[in-house]
């Protein structure tokens, strides 16, 4: 029942204004965090949890907003500039599209840091620092590990069509294991994910590895493999409690974790340090939070943290 313990008002409100008052150093800063989250993915819960913790520690008011549409994400950054926040942390899934908005923040003297995506372009776009993993690298590493484990053919499951970040992951897997095929599923509808994967497994019996790009989809894939009587092995990106448990139960081979909690935490913390002391974390280079592998060898240490929503 640990899930309940982390529930309750303080950790949910994006404006930590009231909650943050008591804790730590009350800096009075207001930072905006703008992401390309499609609402409803547990991955972003962890990013937010990390950001909130950093905000709480330093008495920061955090304004979180998100939109998967690059144009609207740019407007949200503009929005933060209009609100005269003290700093902006943003994801750069579509760096070109956001460059203008980041520039207008810089023009207004607001520091911007990037996290989660945009490792190659963050400097060019005008962000001071970067915290995250390299999606492509993560994918490639996973592909190579599958290949070295004897995998012949992998199926990469994309749960939201047209997403740049997800496509990059699958492209990475393909780089590591050339015999990789993509499939698109509707991640918002579990039964349809199951039947689509079931159909795919029936159609191509040579698939021996399935790569899912999010923890909830991994669990659907397990159901599909079960129903199709497939012997394929499962690999996933990201973690949640159930996926961690499945790794422990050896139903999932391994997970490529990029530690979203750390990404959120560092993005806010670095803005704070930069504002307060002019610190530059990473010294001009990207700070990598992943990829790190979670498998049966280290799951026992990680499982409690996953349950805590911090890993």
């Amino acid at each position: 029942l640990s899930a309940c313990s982390s529930g309750g008002a303080p950790s949910t409100s994006s404006t930590a204004g009231s909650g943050g008052g008591g804790a730590g150093d009350n800096s009075g800063y207001t930072f905006a965090m703008v992401t390309h989250e499609t609402p409803g993915d547990t991955f972003w819960d962890k990013i937010k949890a990390g950001a909130q913790q950093a905000a709480k520690n330093n008495g920061i008011t955090l304004k979180y907003s998100n939109d998967p549409d690059p144009g609207k994400q740019a407007t949200l950054i503009q929005n933060a500039v209009d609100s005269k926040v003290d700093g902006i942390a943003t994801t750069l899934a579509t760096p070109d599209a956001l460059a203008g908005a980041v520039k207008s923040a810089n023009d207004a003297g607001i520091p911007v840091v990037a996290f989660n995506s945009g490792i190659d372009q963050y400097q060019q776009v005008g962000a001071k620092m970067y915290f995250g993993s390299d999606e492509n690298l993560a994918g490639t590493t996973a592909g190579k590990r599958i290949a070295s484990a004897g995998g012949k053919k992998a199926l990469c499951v994309i749960q939201a069509s047209g997403s740049v970040a997800l496509e990059a992951r699958c492209a990475g897997v393909k780089a590591g294991l050339p015999a990789t095929e993509n499939i698109q599923v509707n991640g918002a509808d579990d039964p349809s994910v199951v039947s689509a994967l079931q159909a795919k497994l029936a159609q191509d019996s040579s698939i021996d590895y399935i790569v899912t790009l999010g923890a909830p989809i991994a669990l659907d894939a397990l159901k599909a493999m079960d129903a199709a009587g497939s012997k394929a092995k499962l690999v996933t990106f990201d973690l949640n409690v159930d996926a961690a448990q499945a790794i422990k139960d050896k139903k999932i081979e391994f997970s490529i974790d990029q530690q979203p909690y750390v990404q959120g935490y560092l993005a806010i913390q670095s803005l704070y340090l930069n504002k307060k002391n002019g610190n530059d974390i990473g010294g001009g280079k990207a700070v990598l939070t992943g990829p790190s592998f979670v498998d049966s060898s280290n799951i026992d240490q990680i499982l409690p943290f996953a349950k805590n929503n911090t890993r």
Partner: protein, 353 residues
């Protein structure tokens, strides 16, 4: 008085002009026949191009996929015959599951109690949708778009508030799980193929809906309300009650599929279900239901759901490039609608005698 009556002189002469339509014309005029022909055409097409589809197991996977869309589509079809839309039908599925899971998990209550509570909650939402529509006269498209947004937000907001994350905890260790799992999410084997219980439920609901629409007084009222609400009201049909009832039917079957999803997957993402409202509408319309109301039937809607389920999976069975998935789906949709139309034209264009 009655003695003075005489048969109007020319009536018998007119009778000679009377026609009885041949069975083939009658058949073709039914709303579902076009969809059936389209379904058969698509079915044969995929049997040819997708070898992996040629197995009973695949057929039952398609049926399962169709049933999860088809169950709610039954109700959405009836609602559309009654002249209204429900855009909240997709999220209500998730809402129903979330209410059940979180309520029971947080308070440690038997899941069956939670399922009943969730049912009541869903029916209340359906009632509210219907009540607002009939009370204000605002088009249901807008009212239910409002509830769609509200529920979507509330699903996320409340789940986050209660569980601290955007998905529910796993409920498969809780009391009452096995009973509900058996009802909503079990499956059994016939020979080598696995049949999901939702397929049976789907058939049941379709049969029930077909019977209600064709053979009962309320069915008559549903057609009338959708065909011309003013005229229906003028002859004493309780228009408002019928519409509210239809909205509640949608939320009932939404709840049903919500239960299925919860007990099949044991956990739910709060953001799920969005977009499915259109699949229900597509199923209904491909199945011959008029968007403007007053025409359609249950079998047609079921065939519509089947066409959708078959197309979306058979694209995978055929191994086509997934990037083009949507494009194939679109072409199939247009095709199904056109075949449907063509068949309907045939039925009226043929001469009698």
């Amino acid at each position: 008085m009655s003695q003075t009556t005489k048969t109007p002189p020319s009536a018998p002469a007119e009778a000679s002009n009377r026609v009885t339509l041949g069975w083939s014309n009658r058949l073709l005029a039914r709303p579902e026949v076009g969809a059936l022909v389209a379904a058969i055409v698509i079915f044969i097409f995929f049997l040819i191009v997708a070898p992996a589809f040629r197995s009973p197991a695949s057929f039952f996977t398609v049926l399962y996929q169709s049933s999860t869309i088809g169950i709610v589509a039954v109700a959405v079809g009836m609602l559309m015959i009654g002249g209204e839309f429900d855009l909240s039908a997709g999220v209500i599925v998730t809402t129903a599951g979330l209410v059940n899971a979180m309520f029971c998990y947080q308070l440690g209550i038997n899941l069956i109690v939670g399922a009943v509570l969730s049912l009541v909650f869903s029916l209340v939402i359906g009632f509210l949708n219907g009540y607002l529509v009939v009370r204000t006269g605002i088009p249901s498209f807008l009212i239910t778009l409002g509830t769609f947004f509200v529920l979507q937000g509330a699903n996320l907001g409340v789940t986050k508030l209660v569980t601290g994350s955007v998905s529910t905890p796993n409920i498969n260790q809780m009391q009452g799980y096995s009973t509900l799992d058996a009802i909503f999410a079990s499956s059994f084997k016939i020979g080598t193929v696995t049949v999901e219980i939702t397929v049976l439920w789907w058939f049941l609901f379709v049969a029930l809906s077909a019977w209600i629409l064709q053979r009962t007084r309320i069915g008559n009222w549903i057609y009338a309300v959708g065909g011309n609400a003013d005229s229906a009201r003028a002859v004493g049909v309780p228009v408002k009650a019928v519409k509210i009832g239809l909205f509640m039917t949608v939320s009932f079957l939404g709840w049903f599929v919500g239960m299925h999803t919860l007990y099949k997957f044991d956990t739910l993402q709060a953001g799920n279900g969005i977009g499915n409202e259109f699949l229900y509408i597509i199923a209904a319309v491909v199945g011959g239901t008029l968007l403007t109301g007053g025409f359609g039937n249950a079998i047609g809607v079921a065939i519509g759901a089947f066409i959708f389920g078959m197309t979306s999976l058979c694209i995978v069975y055929a191994g086509w490039d997934p990037n083009w998935f949507r494009a194939f789906l679109g072409v199939m949709l247009l095709l199904a609608v056109m075949v449907n139309l063509y068949v309907k034209r045939l039925s009226t264009a043929r001469k009698v005698g």
